[in-house]
């Protein structure tokens, strides 16, 4: 089955409801992709609210979007894209059973995830000082602040939900890196690394759509 004669025998790697490694791996992949479909629709509810309210208040959404910090948003996007690349390389390393490189790439991915979260924190703090946080201290120069406030609760809902997913991703990455150090994924069954990779790429794709919608609504 696997190219090299693996020191660990085949059936320890395979859970007992599966017949062989290949069935287990394709089941895990399909399961993950179905889970990602549910995540698409979980974010989808917020995208629907965003679409409806932007079509109702395009003027206010554009004005409100100008108050977001596009520099931090742009850098964050670049960071997530880069960490996605590291993750893909990690999956490649796992398949080629290169343990050292796998561990470093996973730690690298988690590291850039943490940088993303730090920048996110900085941005949220800036929004707080600019009085842009709905409900708590929302102040708006022009009269009628209701509609910009709708933009900002959508902004915080979408980026907040995404941030939670990034945090979960970082934790998963660190756990997998730790297990990889114990030679868990370089003996033929690297499915967990692949699944973590799919999840991380999904989190990256969500941000790819969030960046233009929230930071570049209308033109700057």
């Amino acid at each position: 089955m696997s190219i090299l004669t693996s020191p660990v025998s085949e059936n320890e790697l395979v859970a007992d409801q599966f017949d062989d490694l290949e069935q287990q791996r394709s089941a895990a992949q399909l399961g993950m992709w179905v889970f990602l479909a549910t995540e698409v629709l979980f974010f989808g509810g917020l995208f629907l609210a965003y679409t409806v309210y932007r079509s109702r208040y395009p003027y206010d959404f554009a004005a409100a979007s100008h108050h977001t910090d596009v520099v931090i948003g742009g850098i964050n996007t670049a960071i997530l894209l880069f960490s996605s690349t590291l993750m893909a390389l990690a999956v490649r390393a796992a398949e080629l059973r290169d343990r050292k490189r796998l561990v470093w790439l996973l730690v690298g991915t988690a590291f850039f995830g943490i940088i993303f979260m730090v920048l996110k924190g900085v941005e949220y703090h800036k929004d707080w000082t600019d009085h842009l946080v709905p409900v708590f201290n929302f102040e708006w120069p022009e009269p009628n602040p209701e509609h910009p406030q709708i933009f900002f609760w959508l902004y915080f809902a979408m980026t907040g939900l995404h941030a939670i997913h990034v945090t979960v991703g970082i934790l998963v990455m660190l756990v997998i890196a730790f297990l990889a150090r114990l030679r868990k994924f370089t003996t033929g069954n690297y499915t967990p690394v692949e699944i973590a990779g799919l999840y991380w790429h999904f989190v990256d794709i969500v941000w790819i759509f969030l960046f233009p919608l929230l930071y570049l609504a209308g033109h700057r």
């Binding site: 989808g44 790429h201 999904f202 570049l216």
Partner: protein
Amino acid sequence: METTNASPTQTHPVKVYWKTCAALMLLLALTWSVGYVDLGLFNLIVAMAISITKALVVALFFMHIKGSSRLLHLAATVGIIWLLIMLTLTLSDYFTRGWVPLNH
């Protein structure tokens, strides 16, 4: 058992990964710069088009959709298709609200 045709090794040479990364960074720069040009309604359309291409690049190369089984292709797209169903049918209500004059 359904014959699983997920190819045993899906790895590409390292060069491919960095080229993909470069493409993504380029598309990001494009999104960012287009954001400063006033195209009115087209701003949204262009931004979405670029984002879709970026998402496709990530899905095809990093998530190994390219060369994987038709079943995974379907599983990958079904979420987006249902999101589009929700968007289009809901917006069909919002965009046609004024068409029947309620009180004249």
